[in-house]
């Protein structure tokens, strides 16, 4: 190997180090992280919403063939939601479009993430993992209402 090849290896390494630094910065300084681990237990299979205060909620979501439960979630603008997600049957996907919330609902395991909705509107949740013949119909939504109604 000659000097040009060594340079290519070093340059590639530097480029990737820059990318990796960007990941670390976003993770630790801006708190953008992958879903957290939660120990699974059967209680996560009961879909419900818990209101903690005016703008903080816990959602215990359960994906099943072929719907997300609880259905028709509505929250006021500015709400922060802790979302716990599992599946009752097979593996499902869970992508809140435009929010960067992208989770897998796996039976026998629970995943958790936190999301804040700053703007009112209807957010679609798409199942993006093959889950049987009704997969293409599996969509949920979250409605965020403008603050003035509260």
């Amino acid at each position: 190997m000659n000097k040009y090849e060594i340079r290519v290896i070093v340059l590639a390494g530097l480029l990737l180090s820059a990318f990796f630094f960007a990941i670390l910065y976003n993770d630790f300084s801006r708190n953008i992280d992958v879903p957290a681990c939660v120990t699974y237990s059967g209680t996560f299979k009961v879909p419900h919403v818990k209101k903690l205060d005016r703008s903080t909620y816990e959602v215990y979501g359960v994906a099943k063939m072929w719907a997300f439960t609880p259905e028709d979630l509505t929250f006021p603008e500015g709400s922060t939601i802790d979302l716990y997600l599992t599946s009752d049957d097979v593996v499902h996907g869970f992508n809140i479009v435009k929010k960067g919330v992208n989770l897998m609902a796996v039976p026998g395991a629970t995943t958790k993430t936190t999301v804040t909705f700053e703007t009112a509107g209807v957010y679609r949740i798409l199942c993006h993992e093959y889950c049987g013949s009704g997969h293409q119909y599996m969509m949920g939504k979250i409605t965020i209402t403008p603050k003035k109604y509260y």
Partner: protein, 557 residues
């Protein structure tokens, strides 16, 4: 060199059978773009439903064709460089198992008993036939490797002090990765899924099956890619009319793949529960590291091509690029190789996006991902497979290549098709278009309440790409099958274009042995998968779930 008749039969069968199935694989690929663009709003066409077709497309194109090619190209490479045939028993049993396994898979898929897609989506149940068939295909490929190891040791004994040829190192690295990587999936299919599918066991730990699958699923992509790399290092420079810029760089690249391709599978699971963020970040870092040998390869191959162009009289800093044999009928392989390389620039870079930990959340399981891998596996991998299959079939059978103009056109048409296909998929993916989904029934059906008009232009672009690729495939099949059905005109020969190295390089002892690298590989695998396994036992539970794809009724209750 001349080879025995049974060996020739095995090589030709190993080329002909997957290429015949590839017709079915391509048909189902084109059909998907039609469904998805909302041209048809149906769940099935001609008796094959969307997900059944998707399963065939994935299994045939990405497992059957690639595995057969790796084995056959391995036979040819190893025999050519070592000038001997592997033991008859190994290559015959190997091919027999692979053919039987493939037929079992085919029956399961055609009868609709396997629609679980090729990632074995437990707790969706597929027929045990499918799991066992896949296992046989894999075991068959191992046996071919055992035969090569035997002749390697006999060659080494007769040629003391000689270096392992680069092509042999590449092939052996590839099959070592394969052997290690297929152990978890063999365990998954034979010990977990088959008994569960037969009803002998009740419950299944889904996160465990997924971890085992991806422990295999990512090294698998290097198993597809490394035969192409062997061709890029040892065949392309010769075809271009030059020499390999550096053999040692090639050796280092292969050995880096050996240690780094195994421990990175968790990067397919960034969005999943169970694994800790620490394990995921580590997998992200290792995935960055495994891109380094690809950067090196890009340099070495480009330098070899520049050398070839200058030998052909090129001058100037960039203008040498036009002096390469793009459209020469006698060097038709060049087009297949260069189109693959051009696609791989974009395929590789988009792969770094996928590997980037939290950035992955924007693209995970959206159409961005198939957009990416159609520029890798349907880029360099398939194009090298198509080109080399023509070359190997015509030389080993002694038949002349037919429709040579088509043979030269195919890779360029294919590349344009992929450009449209991947652009459509990736731009749709960034807007949340889900992958593995029959969009035509819902998201791209104007009559459905789920209709999303943003997906119309993107899926239409994908459709255009799919049709262009379909045309390229038809042209290719004409060339391949016309050649295969032709008369023998030459003496059958096992031969390969062999590139010389440009520089006389000093031996670096560390690059001449695989042993320390194999140990390092095992250590790195442990650093990822020991924490991953501990997480599985800590955070997840086995569930009594078993489902058919068409009903939400749990078969276990």
């Amino acid at each position: 060199m001349n080879i025995s008749k049974p060996y020739r039969t095995v090589i030709l069968t190993g080329l002909l059978m997957p290429m015949t199935l590839f017709i079915l694989g391509c048909y189902n690929g084109v059909m998907q773009t039609i469904y998805r663009a909302g041209i048809i709003h149906q769940s099935s066409v001609a008796g094959i439903n969307y997900y059944q077709g998707l399963t065939m497309h994935g299994v045939i194109n990405a497992i059957v064709l690639t595995t057969f090619f790796a084995v056959v190209f391995g036979h040819v490479t190893v025999s050519y460089y070592l000038k001997r045939e592997p033991p008859k028993l190994t290559y015959q049993i190997s091919m027999l198992l692979m053919v039987v396994g493939t037929l079992m898979d085919l029956v399961a898929m055609l009868t609709g008993k396997a629609q679980a897609l090729y990632t074995f989506y437990a707790p969706l149940k597929a027929s045990p036939f499918f799991y066992v068939g896949t296992a046989l295909l894999i075991v068959g490929s191992w046996i071919a490797f055992f035969g090569w190891i035997k002749i390697w040791y006999s060659w080494k004994k007769e040629n003391p002090g000689k270096r392992m040829p680069l092509a042999i190192l590449g092939t052996f690295v590839n099959f070592s990765i394969w052997l290690v990587a297929t152990l978890p999936v063999a365990y998954e299919t034979l010990v977990i899924l088959t008994p569960w599918s037969l009803g002998w066991t009740d419950s299944i730990n889904v996160p465990l099956t997924r971890m085992l699958f991806w422990m295999f699923g990512h090294p698998l992509v290097y198993f597809w890619l490394l035969p192409a790399y062997v061709a890029y290092y040892t065949i392309l420079p010769k075809v271009a009319g030059g020499k390999l810029y550096s053999g040692n760089a090639g050796r280092l690249a292969f050995l880096l793949f050996l240690i780094l391709s195994m421990p990175v599978g968790v990067h397919h699971q960034f969005s999943e529960p169970v694994f800790t963020p620490g394990t995921k970040l580590w997998a992200s870092l290792l995935t960055y590291a495994v891109s380094i040998p690809s950067f090196m390869t890009a340099f070495t191959v480009a330098a070899s091509l520049e050398y070839a162009a200058r030998k052909r009289g090129a001058k100037g800093v960039f203008s040498w690029m036009w002096k390469l044999p793009y459209f020469e009928v006698d060097r038709y392989l060049f087009g297949y190789f260069i189109c693959g390389l051009i696609l791989f620039i974009f395929g590789g870079l988009s792969g770094i996006v996928n590997a980037s930990y939290t950035l992955n959340q924007l693209v995970h399981n959206t159409d961005w991902v198939p957009g990416h891998f159609h520029m890798t596996v349907a880029g360099p991998v398939i194009l090298v497979i198509l080109g080399m299959s023509l070359y190997m079939y015509s030389t080993v059978s002694g038949k002349a290549l037919k429709f040579k103009t088509f043979a030269v056109m195919v890779p360029y048409v294919w590349m344009v098709g992929i450009a449209f296909l991947s652009h459509g998929l990736m731009s749709g993916g960034l807007m949340g278009e889900p992958r593995r989904t029959n969009l035509g029934l819902s998201y791209t059906n104007p009559d459905s309440p789920l209709f999303n008009h943003h997906f119309v232009p993107t899926t239409t672009t994908t459709l255009v790409g799919g049709i262009i690729m379909g045309i390229a495939a038809i042209l290719y099949f004409i060339v391949f099958f016309a050649t295969a059905m032709g008369k023998r005109v030459n003496e059958p020969q096992l031969i390969l274009p062999e590139s010389e190295e440009l520089h006389e390089e000093k031996d670096i002892p560390l690059l001449l042995t695989m042993k320390p690298w194999l140990i390092l590989m095992i250590v790195l695998v442990m650093t990822t998968y020991v924490p991953a396994l501990i997480s599985i036992f800590k955070y997840s539970k086995a569930v009594p779930n078993k489902f058919q794809p068409d009903s939400p009724q749990n078969l276990q209750k």
